[in-house]
């Protein structure tokens, strides 16, 4: 009978209860949506921040271990799968173009595209060996353009019998513009550099890792202690600004969520106060029929909590749609569904509605049946 009464009150008086339901559903939608974004934003922003370049570098440690790709791999293995966006190893050597000394970086140019996506290339990225990129400053001083075939010589003029000094003809596919020190180098494949200067160790490895500041710190500590021959370092300017922006964004989301919940509570409390006021005769009748104060509270609270539950279910579904919409519009990628958010949203909706109903429901018990049922 209790359930029949509260459902009948909600279903048969739906026009009245719709306002309260709408308030709860809107509140739950914002709550669910913003919390989904709150949880997913580090991932979204992490991906966004990867556009600002590598956030971790590996350098050779001071011991005698050889710093090559095999050594680097032992460090990479400490990073969770799926977190690593790209790894670009760099080896810097001096070569000559038009008899002018130039610093050449041997690297994996396909990986550079992922670790340094902010590079502006006038031309194309190299797709195979014997193709290279030239920094803007070098291109200007040596009058190089995309498409030029350039003879790149090894480091010395001596040992003319050494085949390294015959040089390699490499085509410039593009000019690198970054506004930074990258414009002072030329970039070729590791194989081309080895052809010119012979085998050698890496100087630095740039890594782009999609992870939070805490995760990055953890990786650095693990690699430092467990990967021999590697000194990992975080690129502070990237990781710090990332965590600062994330912190501010999450604080904003938290604040908006809190404000929305308070507004929802006020709206539900106002609606329930109006509901109690317009049902004073019914409350008086129930008391006249022998309902105790506890029964009256239980019934009105039951209505409120049922409303909260229904609003919570609606809100968690609509919240995901809302979060998806925001994510697609702001981050241009879809959001991950958080299954735990469904019960949490429903519970919070019920809790908020319960709190909002407390005062109006308590007020309902003060109705004097003799007064409200008085005849004309």
């Amino acid at each position: 009978m209790f359930f029949k009464m509260i459902t009948a009150s909600l279903v048969r008086r739906r026009s009245r209860m719709l306002v309260a339901l709408l308030a709860i559903a809107v509140g739950a939608t914002i709550l669910s949506g913003l919390v989904t974004i709150y949880i997913d934003v580090p991932r979204q922003m992490g991906a966004e921040f990867r556009n600002y370049g590598a956030n971790m570098i590996f350098m050779a440690s001071s011991n005698d271990a050889v710093f090559d790709m095999d050594t680097v791999q032992t460090g990479i293995d400490k990073i969770e799968q799926g977190k690593l966006v790209g790894v670009a190893p760099y080896r810097y050597e001096t070569v000559r173009i038009h008899e002018q000394p130039v610093v050449a970086a041997g690297t994996d140019l396909s990986q550079v595209q992922t670790t340094s996506p902010y590079w502006m290339i006038d031309g194309e990225w190299p797709e195979k060996d014997e193709e290279m990129l030239v920094g803007q400053n070098i291109a200007e001083s040596l009058n190089l353009h995309a498409g030029d075939l350039v003879n790149v010589m090894g480091p010395t003029e001596e040992d003319s019998e050494d085949q390294l000094n015959f040089g390699v003809d490499i085509r410039v596919t593009g000019i690198v513009e970054t506004g930074g020190k990258e414009e002072d180098y030329i970039y070729m494949s590791m194989a081309d550099l080895e052809t010119l200067v012979g085998e050698g160790e890496l100087d630095v490895v740039e890594l782009s890792v999609s992870a939070t500041a805490e995760e990055l710190d953890r990786y650095v500590k693990t690699i430092e202690s467990e990967a021999e021959g590697i000194t990992p370092r975080l690129v502070k300017r990237v990781t710090q600004s990332e965590s600062t922006v994330l912190g501010k964004l999450q604080a904003l989301v938290f604040l908006v969520t809190a404000v929305v919940l308070v507004l929802t509570m006020i709206c539900v409390a106002t609606t329930m106060t109006a509901v109690v006021a317009e049902r004073r005769k019914e409350i008086g009748l129930r008391k006249a029929l022998g309902a105790s104060d506890a029964s009256i509270m239980k019934e009105f609270m039951g209505e409120g909590l049922l409303l909260g539950g229904v609003g919570g279910i609606l809100g968690s579904v609509l919240g995901f749609v809302f979060a998806q919409f925001v994510s697609v519009r702001v981050f241009a990628s879809s959001i991950r569904y958080q299954p735990l958010l469904l019960p949490v949203t429903i519970l919070v909706s019920i809790l908020i509605t319960g709190l909002a109903c407390l005062f109006p429901v308590k007020n309902a018990t003060t109705v004097d049946p003799a007064l409200v049922l008085k005849g004309e």
């Binding site: 009978m1 029949k4 009464m5 009948a8 008086r13 019914e282 129930r286 006249a288 022998g290 004309e376």
Partner: protein, 225 residues
Amino acid sequence: MSLLELRGISKIYGDLKALDNINLSVENGEWTAIMGPSGSGKSTMMNIIGCMDKPTMGEVLLDGVDIAKESAKNLTAIRRDKIGLIFQQFHLVNYLTAVENVMVAQYYHSLPDEKEALEALARVGLADRAKHLPSQLSGGEQQRVCIARALINHPEIILADEPTGNLDEANENIVLDLFRQLHEEHTTLIVVTHDPEVAEVAQRTITLEHGRIKSDEINKMFGRN
């Protein structure tokens, strides 16, 4: 021992004496009408007998228990167990069907029993209207649902406050016929009315004026009309 006994009851609001030293006994199975003009104290007396108010002084003995001394919580329990209320404006819960309205009284009293509630509605001639909402019922039908609700828990006293005040003559007669049936079944009825025609079908008529009993008469024509 009388079922209900009022001893020296007064109800005072500031300078106003709504009831002034009322002494009254109602026997089990008696059909009593309480008459009087507006402000004579009828409603105040009904509220006190119906456990919805307390007298300023005096004793109200219901089944030998002085309800004037009971707590609000106990008064609620007494009202639930011993008193059936019939109102002038019916006071049905507008979003519950006729049978659900009857079951509400069962719910607060003990356990809702739809079969029993349907039987109560059948008794007042509304078996076919059980699933209708109050807004789909006429005034007379709503009053009969109200009577079925008052009867459902087998109360010791039925208190009716202007039960025909909002009804036309045809429905008034239906309600009065139901009261006759209840009286024949030895139900104690106390009916507040300002309508002499309703009062004169009762066994006994008490007339109030300025909070005092002006007259207390046995209806000599009782049972003949």
